[in-house]
Amino acid sequence: MAARFSVARAALKEKKYTEDHEWIEASADGKTFTLGISEYAAKALGDVVYVELPEVDLEVGSGEAIGAVESVKSASDILSPIGGTVTEVNDALQEKPGNLNKDPEGDSWIAKIAISGEPEGKLMSKEEYTAFTEEA
């Protein structure tokens, strides 16, 4: 069991994508994940005008919304593919929501979550995700 567990963790150090267009990336120790939205999603949403961030210490279940992105076109939930506790949020996005369009997979991450279980649902590698978005 323990061996399988660490294999799963190791595999997740690479950035992974959800079908809902979020991404997660594990910290070096595998205990915390950074979550954001994909470049594809940021581009498709258009100019982001508001980002609703979760509060630090919020407990979130896998598949639950931890925030929202508002663009001219729509309001969209940000769903977390992992359960855990929010340890940090990217406050800069509150001041400059437009930054989410500039660097959604880098500086404009949404939140960091201390994981309490394994990720659920389908997670894809960069290549798989690119193929997924091209199909869509």
Partner: protein, 460 residues
């Protein structure tokens, strides 16, 4: 537990989206995710399923009662210009085009000019000796004072209640009343008009009314500060020179340059900009549209439903099915100005007892319980369905349309609020994703209108 609570707080997320939260997955699809434009709010997810590769049928066709989506005569032209299609009002309509984002298209319209296909709307002609009296029974408009080649915004009303069946523009042409109604209300309006006309014929056999639909007739809206300059280029000399004295709310026949194609040009629109709505015979719709685009390559772009919605909201205009519905009267909707003077005095239209009572002063038992208002919201935009609450957290209204305004750079919304709270400057709160946001009741339009009006006579 905390997580559960979080879910409850964040799910309504999408307050404006009723019970179904929208994940990024759905938002990134080419659909009207704000749902502001989808008349049947209960079926947003289905919007995904309509692929543009659906079985092709005649290049233009009205929707069928079996739910087959219609296409306007410009469908292929849209596709050529990279349109993303969505089902709207029973038609596959462009929501945006590949050259411009919704915001860019919105700004383009305010700075230059855009061309919208509105051929999905329903164009009617009512003629005959009873036409005026018939329409005056259905609407609160004073058609007796409507001059030839002039238009007025109006509403079709339900008998007794005075609720709005649909909003419409009525134009007096030399030989008929030309009436344009919403695509999303097509079936309901046709059933209503059929029933009303039957009743009319029974009661007034000598005052005949003839009702015709201009099916497949093209209708495009040319909107923006450069609209007149662009339109002049495609008209023959006589028609082009007549544009300078065609004012907001007026219409004229026009002839396309080098052809004998005659179009009906109405000055007005749904953006708050100067502009025209041009009704074109089916056989010429595509050619005239292409001619317009080719005549103004650097100035004119096609625009879709996405920009149309943000533009009309900034202009403070209602979208039926959202800001107006069967239960709303013109007085509640802030449309009392469409009720003609003689109609106020004499009534004689559907729901007149309700509506005329609402027009009276409060001291005389008049007034309404809710009113349509504009709101500016701090922080997050507030969309359809969001609740308006007072300082004690009690619900005092709800949002019916909302978006971040590309021009005003503020979050603008339209909604209904309890009478008494409707005055401009009143501070209230709007609940978005479970959190209260500061909001201020604001006069509409949110941006100044730029209609082409006759100059007031010089003071002597």
């Amino acid at each position: 537990m905390a997580s559960k609570r979080a879910a409850q707080v964040l799910r309504p997320a999408v307050n404006g989206f009723k019970a179904s939260p929208v994940s990024l997955k759905h938002a990134v699809k080419p659909q009207i995710t704000t749902r502001n434009l989808s008349i049947r709010a209960a079926r947003p997810r289905q919007l995904n399923r309509v692929s543009t590769t659906a079985v092709r049928f005649a290049s233009s066709a009205v929707p069928t009662s079996e739910g087959q989506l219609g296409r306007t005569g410009l469908y292929e032209l849209h596709a050529k210009y990279g349109a993303k299609f969505v089902p709207f009002g029973g038609y596959e309509m462009p929501v945006q085009y590949s050259d411009l984002s919704i915001v860019d298209s919105h700004n383009w319209t305010r700075e230059k000019a855009s061309l919208f296909d509105v051929g999905h709307m329903v164009q009617h002609d009512f003629s005959g000796p009873g036409a005026q009296a018939f329409l005056e029974r259905l609407t609160p408009s004073s058609l007796s004072s409507l001059s030839e080649n002039h238009s007025t915004l109006s509403t079709l009303l339900h008998p007794e209640t005075g609720g709005i069946v649909d909003d419409t523009v009525i134009t007096r042409l030399p030989n008929s009343f030309y009436v344009v109604t919403n695509a999303g209300c097509r079936e309901k309006d046709l059933a209503y008009l059929t029933e009303q006309l039957e009743a009319w014929r029974k009661e007034n056999p000598d005052q005949t009314v003839e009702w015709k639909l201009r099916d497949n007739q093209g209708l495009v809206a040319l909107q923006g500060p450069l609209a007149a300059t662009i339109l002049e280029r495609v008209l023959n000399e006589k028609s082009a020179s007549a544009l300078s004295t065609l004012y907001f709310g007026q219409c004229m026949p026009g002839t396309i340059k080098g052809t004998d194609v005659e179009v009906l040009i109405s000055r007005g629109g749904y953006t708050g900009e100067d502009g025209f709505e041009i009704s074109i015979p089916p056989s010429a719709t595509e050619a005239v549209t292409q001619y317009l685009l080719d005549s103004a390559k650097d100035e004119l772009r096609l625009a879709g439903l996405g920009a149309r919605d943000t533009l009309r909201l900034e202009a403070g205009m209602c979208l039926y099915g959202h800001d107006l519905d069967d239960t709303t009267t013109p007085v509640e909707a802030g449309l009392s100005w469409i009720i003609g003077k003689d109609r106020r005095a004499n009534g004689g239209f559907h729901g007149d007892s309700v509506i005329l009572q609402q027009l009276k002063k409060k001291s005389e038992g008049g007034g309404v319980t809710r009113r349509r208002v504009g709101l500016i919201i701090e922080g997050s935009p507030a969309r359809e369905g969001a609740e308006i609450v007072n300082e004690n957290g009690e619900k005092i209204g709800n949002i019916t349309s909302g978006c971040p305004s590309p021009t005003a750079k503020k979050n603008i919304s339209m909604g209904y609020i309890k009478d008494g709270m409707h005055k401009s400057g009143t501070e209230v709160q709007v609940v978005v994703r479970g959190k209260k946001r500061k909001a201020t009741v604001t006069k509409m339009p949110f941006i100044g209108s730029k209609y082409y009006k006759a100059l007031a006579p010089e003071p002597k």
